[in-house]
Amino acid sequence: MSSEPVLDVQKLKTYFYLDQNLVAKAVDDVSFSVYPGETVAIVGESGSGKSITALSIMQLINKPGRIVEGSIRVREKNLLDLKEKQMTTIRGNHIGMIFQEPMTALNPVFTIGNQLTEMIRKHKKVSKEIARNKATELLRVVGIPRPDAIMKEYPHQLSGGMRQRVMIAMAISCEPELIIADEPTTALDVTIQAQILDLLKDMQKRYNLAVLLITHDLGVVYEYTDRVIVMYGGQIVEQAPTKKLLSLTKHPYTNGLLSSLPNMEEDVERLGTIKGTVPAAYNFPAGCRFSTRCPAVMEKCRQINPPLLQLDADHFVRCHLYEDGGDE
């Protein structure tokens, strides 16, 4: 791990102004960095703010949403200072993005070859022929059989897994340093998911990419990532290297998530649950945002939202239980 992060997000706040007095704090004071060659997961349930964090980095937030505060640095450039045209260069050249549903990201009326060559030519000044050759080569790299034939096909002619391979080819086409993958395998079957995640891992090694993986699946987190950020209610509640977070879990929310997973090894009669549901982003409880669902809630939790505490070199947790030097 080099000391220079590829991506450095500081105090990011993305709010949605729903009504005059209704503000959804979808992302509320989030800071983290991603280093070259590293895979970082952001996990959380729907409504946790994980996808909005990813979209904020790409600056794909639409009205009524707005990034209200913070900085997003990619190689010393604060993306929030850039004009839309400069941002287009960043997307692609520096950051590649893979979405959950490739069908919405690919244009249905153009062939795969068309879209890939266009993408390459938009970011690199090369002739059509060179771009086409590169596109075919990329399809081969991402494991697409008969790349020459696939170049002439339309997105709907491909299976979900193949489309996601095309998305990966597009994301890496301009040699970015960072890939943001938002639930890239959620819509896929489990055997295909394994293929796509393995491919992503291969690409990462091959091009020394940093990967920010947005997911809800803790199994995927365990097998494919180095570090985890757990989000709840628009904030980071726990952050640590993957194995550490999953074995020395601190936050009651992370614990709840883990115990609600059906176990493949042992038979358990009842699953652990987290009572209630995720509060809406415009209606967070006072104090700690998890306080309404937390099994270890204290009086203090209902009044003061705890800061993100540093327990040791690389483990952070937002919980009053660990205040005063991190003793339990």
Partner: protein, 345 residues
């Protein structure tokens, strides 16, 4: 249909007396015609479910896992006769319902209900919770208003909703709560058998756990029998007593869950199990198990491979697999597998 299927059906049957069995499916097939050309003539058959046999005991949960296109949802819909079977026999509660007219099947449907995947699409947004839960009783049509109200209230409590939820509308609820409404709708007629088609796959993991726990509690309280269709192997394992693995319209393997998960025999089951990413901090699960990853996609069910339909992706395929279609054979007690590797004849 070959001799061995029939024999094996007989074997499955002999172990249980008729009173124990609630659902019996014999060699069921569901083919969809593929139309083509200007005249829209039938040019082929899509074999969504192709010769499947099994039975479910009273109070038991049979899980069915498979990837998209495996035919698992079609199978569920054929069982409840939302789709007409092409061939085969359906026996429910000792009655042959295969060819029963739709009018006559209605009273039987009181006993078999279905819970669907998407609680956003399967509930009419213009109806209040009370209307939604009451609707099946109205369709059945033999209860006075007062009695209906009582039944609605009783089932509402069972699924963990509150009385003041009755006047609310579906959009006021989260996904998990909506799935509770769907379950209440299914249970208000006191069914014996509930087909659950991916009931938790649209839900977040903590909510999924709540709904799974609820379904288990309800099964115990009401003596329900479940057919639980899902793509998530860990969810199926949690809820089921026995599990069947489906691939391109056929059962690859069916076994008591312990036996299936500890000792998967079919190469497809083995690959499925090793494809799931799991948290394995102790290294227990990886030990002694080689990871089998499949290449390629599921072939189109409209033109399945000859012989064993899995052979195109099977790491252990051999000559015989292209010619003969393997039938289910019993390897261990109640553990059936359709694979030539285990056929010693």
């Amino acid at each position: 249909m070959t001799m061995s299927t029939k024999q094996q059906d007989a074997q499955v049957g002999t172990r249980l007396t008729d009173e124990d069995i609630l659902v019996e499916v014999r060699n069921i097939k569901k083919y969809f015609p593929i139309k083509g050309g200007v005249l829209q003539k039938t040019v082929g058959q899509l074999k969504a479910v192709d010769d499947v046999s099994f039975s479910i005991k009273k109070g038991e949960t049979l899980g069915i896992v498979g990837e998209s296109g495996s035919g698992k949802s079609t199978l569920g819909r054929v069982l409840i006769r939302l789709l007409e079977p092409t061939d085969g026999q359906l026996i429910f509660d000792n009655k042959d319902i295969t060819t029963l007219r739709q009018r006559l099947i209605r009273p039987i449907r009181e006993d078999m209900q279905m819970v669907f995947q998407d609680p956003f699409a399967s509930l009419n947004s213009k109806m209040s919770v009370e209307q939604l839960i009451e609707e099946p009783l109205l369709v059945q049509g033999n209860l006075a208003k007062k009695d209906r109200k009582q039944k609605v209230l009783a089932v509402l409590q069972k699924v963990g909703l509150r009385k003041d939820d009755l006047q609310k509308y579906p959009h006021e609820f989260s996904g998990g709560q909506r799935q509770r409404i769907s379950i209440a709708r299914a249970l208000v007629l006191n069914p014996k058998f509930v087909i659950c088609d991916e009931p938790v796959s649209a839900l977040d993991v903590s909510i999924q756990a709540q709904v799974l726990n609820l379904m288990k509690d309800l099964q115990e309280d009401l003596g329900l029998t479940y057919l639980f269709i899902a793509h998530d192997l860990s969810v199926v394992k949690h809820i089921s007593d026995r599990v069947a693995v489906m691939y391109l319209g056929r059962f690859a393997e069916i076994a008591p869950k312990r036996s299936l998960y500890d000792n998967p025999l079919h190469p497809y089951t083995q690959a499925l199990l090793s494809s799931i990413p799991v948290i394995d901090l102790s290294g227990e699960q990886a030990r002694g198990k080689e990871k089998i990853k499949l290449s390629g996609d599921l072939p189109s069910p409209a033109s399945p491979p000859s012989g064993c339909t899995f052979r195109t992706r099977c790491p252990k395929a051999h000559d015989r697999c292209t010619i003969d279609r393997p039938e289910l054979i019993e390897i261990d007690e109640g553990h059936f597998v359709a694979c030539h590797l285990y056929d010693r004849s």
